[in-house]
Amino acid sequence: MRHHLILRIVAKLLIPPILLFALYVQFHGDFGPGGGFQAGVIFGAGFILYALIFGVETAKKVAQPEIVRVMVAVGVLLYGAVGLVSLLLGGSYLDYSVLAHDPVRGQHLGIFIIELGVGITVAAVMITIFFTFASRGRS
């Protein structure tokens, strides 16, 4: 894809807004439409676009497969950890109300971290799936 000048320029212009939009969807999810799933997919799509234009090998330098693999696990563990913490603080599993002094703030904090965990895992899984399929049969 070295010679596709237009594609490369447009991609370079588009990828930062895509990633920013993903972060917006992620962190605005408490107040409007959005959340971890959607944000993770958009974030992953930004990386996949990069890999499509600049090649899988280049993309692997940016998002190293070992690190992406760790992120898959970290996101789920973050989710589970919130549950365990709320359990230790005396609530039910995943009861966010006990996370802060005030139940409303606790709910906010809880859903925020949960969605962050979901976002990380979904983005990492999307990237992993793409890498796995795209680099199959070449190595």
């Binding site: 898959v72 696990a73 970290v74 563990l77 589970g80 609530g91 039910s92 599993y93 995943l94």
Partner: protein, 493 residues
């Protein structure tokens, strides 16, 4: 303090151990983690069963949201028993795993294998623990997706096609369940099973509810491999790695039978589904056909894993037969056989795992003369086979006994006769193994095969020993199964 959180921890511990396995990405660490997680799950399941038997139903509100709105975990005698079966089999299989897995799965995939196993375990435990119809679907998909992965790890390339076939059939089944749950939600506005049971009688006569019942029954029947929806099962069991076969054969279909029990009796209530839609007229013949057709096909299999897989289809037929009597004795037989069949098939497939570990194949032609070279392994197969047939002093006898009692109680003596004839078919296919292994001379050429290592034999004999122990000491199993049966029928009326 911790005891009140047990229903959640039961599912959460294996679920969260899976990503930790992924993080370490080391075969040995992953195995230790899986063994610990399975054992902890077993302890929790035993504590839960004990609590349920003394205190009664336990409920747990996930996230602190009250029951009809939030997801509720609801442990009653039925699913406490199922949880115990799944966790116990998981623990035994994991103690068997390391050598067998190392010989059948490439080194770099072993950590992922254990992660997938833990997800499968978490999914199966989740199906049993949850009291929410949609949550059940989610856990079903967790366990199914991970079991497709586990099956595809088999060495034979046919494992891939078997896993693909299972994926197609399993997804159709799960989607049918999703449609059924959707239709129920449409009519009642609730997903909580206990709440559904309360609201369904008000709309019982609508066509939507009947359609929901049909979708759920067909979807779950696909999952539990009821004849004629069993086509995915033989190949999936035959070509999966030995450990996976033992685990899935002993737990996967059992949990599916539990789902059927849960939906038919708790959610729909025995009166609605059985008298209105006449399920006995459909399930009773199907289960008998399953017993006979699968047993006869099993006789002609040359791959022993495939033979036992067909035998599983037949045994599932017995469970559904017990269920279709809609009586306390029938349900007792069904739930007993759930437990007993997990013991026998778990034991038999582990013993076959020993054979595959030594021979690299489960083909009957290679079994000649092995009975004397691997005496402990083949003794295990013989005891497991006797249990499968239903010889007294083994668990198989106990479940057949209750099945025959239930048939006589319902006045259908011919069903009892058919059950006995079906057991004779099991004699025929188990005899084939015995004949080849003990009465045919070993081939002259070929290396000297010796007994499997102790680390494989010990877990096998734990399950086989349980076959005899629970065949003699029936207090626990029959007691719990009877309570569960009474509870299912009483809770439904």
């Amino acid at each position: 303090m911790i005891s009140q959180h047990l229903p959640a921890l039961q599912v959460v511990i294996p679920l969260l151990t899976a990503p930790v396995c992924l993080l370490f990405n080391n075969a040995r660490v992953a195995w230790i983690l899986s063994l610990v997680a399975s054992s902890v799950a077993l302890v929790i399941a035993a504590l839960l069963l004990q609590q349920v038997l003394t205190v009664g139903i336990l409920t747990y509100e996930i996230g602190g949201w009250a029951a009809p709105w939030g997801i509720e975990y609801r442990i009653d005698p039925v699913n406490a028993f199922v949880l115990l079966i799944v966790a116990a089999i998981g623990t035994v299989v994991m103690s068997f795993a390391p050598r067998s897995v190392a010989s059948e799965i490439p080194e770099q995939q072993i950590a992922l294998f254990y992660a997938a196993y833990l997800l499968c375990l978490a999914g199966l435990l989740g199906i049993a623990a949850t009291g929410d119809a949609f949550n059940l679907f989610v856990f079903l998909e967790i366990s199914s997706l991970s079991s497709y992965v586990l099956i595809s790890l088999g060495r034979d390339r046919r494992a891939l096609t078997a896993a693909f076939q299972y994926l197609i059939m399993g997804t159709i089944g799960a989607t049918f369940i999703l449609i059924g749950v959707g239709l129920l939600y449409m009519m009642t506005g609730t997903l909580n099973m206990a709440d559904l049971a309360k609201r369904l009688p008000l709309v019982a006569d609508t066509r939507t509810v009947a359609a929901a019942l049909a979708f759920l029954t067909v979807g779950i029947s696909l999952k539990l491999a009821l004849f004629p929806l069993h086509l995915w099962l033989p190949n999936a069991y035959a070509f999966a790695p030995s450990v996976v076969t033992a685990f899935i054969a002993a737990t996967g279909t059992k949990v599916a039978v539990y789902m059927l029990l849960r939906f038919l009796f708790t959610v729909f209530g025995a009166t609605l589904s059985f008298e209105a839609v006449l399920l006995p007229t459909i399930l009773l013949p199907l289960s008998l056909v399953a017993v006979f057709s699968a047993s006869i096909v099993a006789i002609f299999q040359d791959n022993i894993k495939r033979m036992l897989a067909y035998s599983s289809v037949a045994q599932i037929g017995y469970m559904i037969l017990g269920l279709s009597f809609v009586s306390v004795t029938g349900l007792t037989a069904c739930i007993l056989h759930l437990f007993n069949h997990a013991l026998m098939k778990g034991g038999l497939f582990l013993a076959l795992g020993c054979v595959v570990y030594q021979l690299g194949s489960a083909d009957i032609s290679k079994f000649a003369g092995l009975g004397r070279r691997m005496p402990w392994t083949f003794a295990a197969i013989v005891v497991g086979g006797l249990s499968l047939i239903g010889v007294p002093l083994t668990v198989g006898f106990i479940s057949k006994w209750y099945l025959v009692l239930a048939a006589l109680e319902s006045g259908q003596w011919w069903v009892a006769v058919l059950v006995l004839i079906g057991s004779l078919l099991a004699v025929v296919y188990m005899w084939r193994i015995v004949e080849v292994a003990f009465f045919q001379p070993a081939p002259r050429q070929g290396s000297q095969r010796r007994e499997a290592p102790l680390s494989l034999l010990l877990p096998t004999w734990v399950l086989i020993g349980a076959n005899i122990f629970f065949g003699i000491n029936t207090d626990l199993t029959v007691g719990v199964a009877q309570r569960a049966a009474v509870w299912l029928l009483g809770g439904a009326s």
